[in-house]
């Protein structure tokens, strides 16, 4: 199996190299090569899965890939249920997005560069999934960062895109800094960086990490905080939406940002209970913060970006609550429906000539029916409506929270309300309400190269809950203890109902509102409406708006400002000051040399 897996891994790399070297000038050939490589990888993944069916086949290819003293790194692939399923998700969703891109990017100037970047990304992502040890994972981890940087900055002529790319890369590096320290500490404490050996050691002696166990776990978690955009390093993800929409779908919704969660599940055994509770709270905090922010957004991609943040928070919280299988299940279903949502948004943006403001859309329900219905399916899945896949995974997370941590259960339920609210706000305003702009009223359905991937993902979104994905994850990661399912389900459905009603009242009647004013007849009805509006206005201002503004302010000034900007500012300032030493005067230099030598003398000899 291992050679097959290696072929799947290197196929996209070969495609990236081929495009970069030979077919830069020929867009269609580049696209063909890239799509072919992705489909090939998908077929091989399916083959592997069909052969193994979730059985574990650990294979080492080169036991001494890198040996430096007693530090040995082997090179190989991990093929257990976890990586097999993840392979399928990455290559499956990836292939759909590759095909879709061919339609979406057709008019772009540098299609070849785009597809080379996509292939490079697929290679790096598959590398993370198949990694057998921390070093292998870290190398691909960085490569994923690089390819994400290249794709966010695809439209580099736009300063905002270049800045967003840089911000994403640098923010990730801060997380990686901790991650690397964590890896070094694991190696120092356990003497190995192999996932399987780590698992063996930790199973034999759960306290093997010693007193620094919690710290080590949290350092490793830093990697996830960066890559999966958790609070407080979440700032890069919304900006990353500057990239082309298929990139947002592939990298910043379905796969790369999930790599952090995947990594947590891979080394779940490393984390002490204290570390897990920190992880759970950070996940929960991210979920509610991001959901609040989503309510305030008007850009269709940004709404989805904040929604992704919030769902990633769910997953991280599930890991923290001791349910890696649950987290992976939600990761999988989320990959399906969030990719679908982004591709649907892309289809709308494409049809409206790159208009992204939802208040300038409207009336798309009838004009773009495939896009609308698939978008609606994905929305229902995201909101956790049965029988869509999101219902099953979300229900598991709620049940998990109910069983382990009551406050987090409350938070998760509130997030569920907010999720339904902002998603239906989007659907109602953009699709159902009448058209509010010229491009919107003249929109056409996108070509079938774009709608087919939508349909494919919609099928996955509908079927994802029934085909036993959760059982397979439980095989790999162990069964999770859940709380009372009925209560959780009731909470989830109740949240959906509340959110839907709120969204409907506020946004569907926005047009009806103006109608009634013109009619002037139904005064009492109007007053009632007014009352609700006022009530909501008040509620909105004092709860959501305030909270969202505070969160936004905190985000912009404290985290981005003091944290990231402050650090880089301090470095730049330090550099600027130190530079002043280089006066260009030889005698100053000679004086400094003499003084330094005298200082060393005084300190060490006398």
């Amino acid at each position: 199996m291992a050679p097959l897996a290696l072929i799947a891994l290197f196929l996209p790399l070969a495609s990236a190299v081929a495009i970069a070297l030979f077919t830069r000038r020929n867009a269609s050939v580049s696209a063909g090569i890239s799509i072919g490589a992705s489909l090939g990888a998908f077929l091989i993944s399916a083959l592997i899965f069909n052969q193994l069916r979730g059985a574990t086949a650990p294979e080492t290819l080169n036991p001494n890939w890198l040996s430096i003293g007693d530090f040995k790194v082997d090179f190989g692939v991990t093929l257990d249920a976890l990586s097999q399923l993840m392979l399928l998700v990455v290559t499956g969703v990836g292939s759909a997005i590759h095909i879709y891109s061919w339609g979406y990017m057709r008019a772009d100037r540098s299609v070849s560069r785009y597809f080379a970047g996509l292939s490079l990304f697929m290679f790096s992502m598959l590398g993370i999934v198949l990694a057998r040890n921390f070093v292998q994972m870290f190398i691909f981890w960085e490569l994923v960062g690089v390819s994400s940087y290249l794709l966010i900055g695809h439209w580099y002529e736009r300063a905002s895109a270049a800045d967003a790319a840089k911000k994403a890369f640098i923010t990730n590096r801060i997380g990686d800094f901790g991650f690397l320290l964590g890896i070094l500490m694991v190696w120092a404490a356990l003497g190995t960086i192999n996932f399987s050996s780590i698992a063996d050691i930790m199973k034999a002696n759960p306290l093997a990490l010693g007193a620094l166990g919690t710290g080590t776990g949290l350092l490793i978690f830093c990697g996830c905080v960066g890559k999966s955009a958790q609070f407080p390093l979440h700032v890069w993800l919304p900006d990353a939406m500057e990239g082309p929409t298929p990139v947002s779908a592939l990298i910043h919704a379905a796969t790369m940002v999930a790599a952090g969660v995947y990594m947590l599940c891979r080394v779940f055994i490393l984390f002490t209970p204290e570390a897990l509770s920190v992880i759970a709270w950070i996940g929960g905090g991210t979920a509610i913060l991001a959901a609040l922010m989503a309510v305030q957004q008007n850009d269709i991609k940004r709404i989805l970006a904040y929604s992704t943040l919030s769902q990633l928070g769910y997953m991280v919280m599930a890991v923290g609550l001791g349910g890696p299988a649950t987290a992976m299940f939600h990761l999988t279903t989320h990959a399906f429906f969030k990719a679908l949502l982004f591709l649907g948004a892309g289809s709308v943006i494409y049809a409206l000539h790159h208009e992204q403001d939802i208040w300038k859309m409207g009336g798309l329900k009838s004009k773009m029916s495939v896009t609308f219905w698939t978008f609606l399916i994905a929305t229902l899945a995201l909101c956790g409506v049965p029988p869509f896949s999101g219902f099953f995974s979300k229900d598991e997370i709620l049940a998990l929270a109910l069983g382990h941590n009551m406050p987090l259960f409350v938070i998760a339920s509130i997030v569920a309300v907010l999720t339904t609210f902002y998603m239906f706000r989007l659907v109602i305003v953009a699709f159902i309400n009448p058209a509010k702009s010229d491009p919107a009223s003249h929109a056409h359905e996108s070509p079938s190269v774009m709608t087919l991937p939508l349909v494919f993902l919609a099928v996955l979104t509908i079927a994802g809950g029934f085909i036993g994905i959760d059982k397979l994850y439980e095989v790999a990661l162990g069964k999770t203890e859940l709380g009372n399912h009925t209560v959780a389900m009731a909470a989830g459905l109740g949240a959906f109902a509340i959110g839907l009603i709120a969204a409907w009242t506020l946004y569907a009647n926005a047009t009806a509102d103006s109608l009634t004013t013109r009619l002037g007849a139904m005064a009492h009805w109007m007053r009632d409406r007014f009352y609700f509006d006022e009530c909501y206005e008040w509620l909105n201002r004092w709860t959501q708006e305030l909270l969202a503004t505070v969160a936004d302010w905190f985000d912009r000034w404290i985290i981005a400002g003091a944290g990231v900007k402050g650090l880089s500012l301090a470095a730049e300032l330090g550099g600027g000051l130190l530079r002043l030493m280089q006066t260009g005067n030889v005698q100053t230099y000679a004086l400094l040399i003499a003084l330094a030598t005298a200082l060393l003398f005084w300190r060490y000899i006398l």
Binding site: N64, W65, L66, S67, I68, G69, F71, F138, I139, E142, L143, V146, G153, Y156, E157, A159, A162, K166, F169, I170, R173, I174, F177, L180, L181, L184, A188, S568, A571, E572, G574, G575, G576, L578, R579, M581, Q582, G584, V586, T588, Y589, A590, L592, I593, A594, L595, A596, T597, L600, F601, R603, Y604, I605
Partner: protein, 492 residues
């Protein structure tokens, strides 16, 4: 007398003399080929030394009254020096028209500096140490100021002259104090003395010699000359200064510390650890603002010296640091040579090498752009290229040292933070190469024509890139190679 120990030095001197004489006889238009001839001769010599000359890497030989030693470490370093001089001569070939003075003299001086470096690799007493350092330094006084028609080259020469003179003074005075404190000039005898006749004089002398060598390797606080001199010198000279001279300084420092390291001189290692930290911080922070490419390389060199000091300290403490240092040096050699070659090719005569000259390089010469990117990525220490593994090996040594002395965790933290900070310059360059802003492009005066690159330079760049990639992806191949050479290597 054991003449076979200095075969390489003799042969290189002869090549230099031949070139010097040859340039007298050759017609003027043929002289510009001299650098390539010299480079080819060095390549042949390097290959012969590796495969044909029957050099036994596993035994240690002494000669010339103990002044010269040949062991695996010296042999590895000599090969690095030969390679770097060959790269430098290759990049001088398109550069000779700008020199306005004899290309023959230029090549000969580079070869003579190389002889100094080869001696430095073998120096085992203070006389040899002094002579080899001065052979390098005095030739560099001439080389840095070789473009006499350019003010900045003269200025660089004068600055190097004055500050180099100060460093020489410190070093000679240090040697005299060591002599006073120990009664011998031989490093081997010093390592056998117990106790030392006069510890205080010895320590003071040691500190001064380390200061003198610290000037050569450009560590804080002896680093101030580097940016100015790097900027003003002709680009091939800067490359040789940044690679050859620096490696020679490290070779001498390592031998010196290895032989003198004992509990009474432990203070020196503490001092060097502090200097390493300052060098890393200074180099990475100053690089953030720097837009002059050769100055930027100076700052990269300063922080690299900081990382390398970690290995030197580890080695002096008895850890197996030789491999890590040699690996880092090799990675640095390839990346720095490739960068300087590209800078030399892009900059026009008399032009200040600011990063604007890189604008749109990707459109003009994709090959050069890719080479530069790979080198910079390697210098910044991003996996999976050579520079990453070099830093990784050194940090691993630091981790081993930290087991016994928790203070080294601080150094580890600083080193990691500096690696992150050094990404800033990486972005500046990559952005200029691939995504120049429209404003910058419109300001560019010259039309974006491809940059002509001669075949020898293409070969030398290809070798550098292969080195960077191979060292990164298959580090153990190179490590095994070094292992083979330094296996039987016991410091004697």
């Amino acid at each position: 007398m054991n003449l076979q120990l200095i075969t390489l030095e003799v042969v290189v001197t002869l090549i230099g003399a031949t070139i010097l004489l040859g340039s007298l006889w050759l017609p003027a238009d043929k002289r510009r080929h001299l650098p390539l001839v010299a480079a080819a001769a060095l390549v042949v010599l390097l290959i012969a030394h590796c495969f044909a000359m029957g050099v036994d890497t596993t035994t240690t030989l002494h000669g010339f009254g103990g002044g010269i030693v040949q062991d695996g470490f010296a042999i590895c370093l000599k090969r690095l020096f030969l390679a770097s001089a060959a790269f430098v001569l290759a990049m001088s070939a398109p550069f000779v028209e700008r020199l306005r003075a004899g290309p023959g003299e230029f090549c000969a001086l580079i070869l003579f500096a190389l002889v100094g470096m080869l001696f430095a690799a073998s120096a085992n007493d203070f006389v040899m140490l002094f002579v080899s350092v001065e052979l390098i330094t005095v030739t560099f006084y001439v080389l840095t100021s070789f473009q006499r028609h350019e003010t900045r080259s003269l200025e660089a020469g004068a600055k190097y002259l004055i500050l180099g003179g100060v460093a020489t003074g410190l070093m000679v005075f240090g040697i005299s104090l060591i002599f006073a404190g120990s009664g011998t000039m031989s490093l081997r005898e010093i390592s056998k003395l117990d106790p030392l006749p006069n510890l205080m004089l010895f320590n003071a002398g040691l500190l001064l010699v380390v200061a003198g060598l610290g000037f050569k390797i450009a560590i804080v606080p002896f680093q101030l000359w580097a940016p100015d001199v790097y900027q003003g010198s002709p680009t091939p000279v800067t490359a040789f200064l940044a690679v050859g001279s620096k490696i020679a300084g490290f070779a001498l420092l390592m031998r010196l510390l290895r032989h003198t390291s004992r509990p009474e001189t432990g203070f020196l290692l503490d001092a060097l650890a502090a200097l390493a930290a300052f060098s890393m911080i200074y180099g990475s922070l100053c690089a953030i603002w720097q837009r002059q490419l050769k100055r930027l390389m100076a700052y990269i060199g300063i922080s690299s010296a900081g990382y390398l000091l970690i290995g030197v300290i580890a080695m002096a403490k008895g850890f197996d640091g030789t491999k890590a240092i040699l690996f880092y040096l090799a990675a640095y050699l390839f990346a720095a040579m490739a960068t300087f070659t590209v800078i030399g090719l892009i900059s026009k005569e008399g032009e200040d090498e600011r990063s604007e000259i890189l604008n749109g390089l990707h459109k003009r010469s994709p090959g050069l752009a890719l080479t530069l990117t790979l080198s910079i990525v390697s210098l910044a220490g991003i996996p999976p290229l050579a520079g990453f593994f070099g830093k990784f090996l050194l940090l691993q040594l630091l981790l081993e040292m930290a087991v016994n002395n928790a203070a080294y965790y601080w150094l580890l933290g600083i080193a990691l933070a500096c690696i992150v900070a050094s990404l800033a310059f990486f972005f500046g360059i990559i952005r200029a190469v691939y995504w120049p802003s429209d404003v910058a492009l419109s300001r560019a005066t010259a039309p974006a024509a491809p940059i002509p690159t001669s075949l020898p330079l293409k070969i030398s760049l290809a070798i550098c890139v292969t080195g960077i990639i191979l060292l990164g992806l298959q580090p153990d191949v190179f490590l095994d190679l070094i292992q083979e050479t330094v296996r039987a290597f016991r410091w004697q």
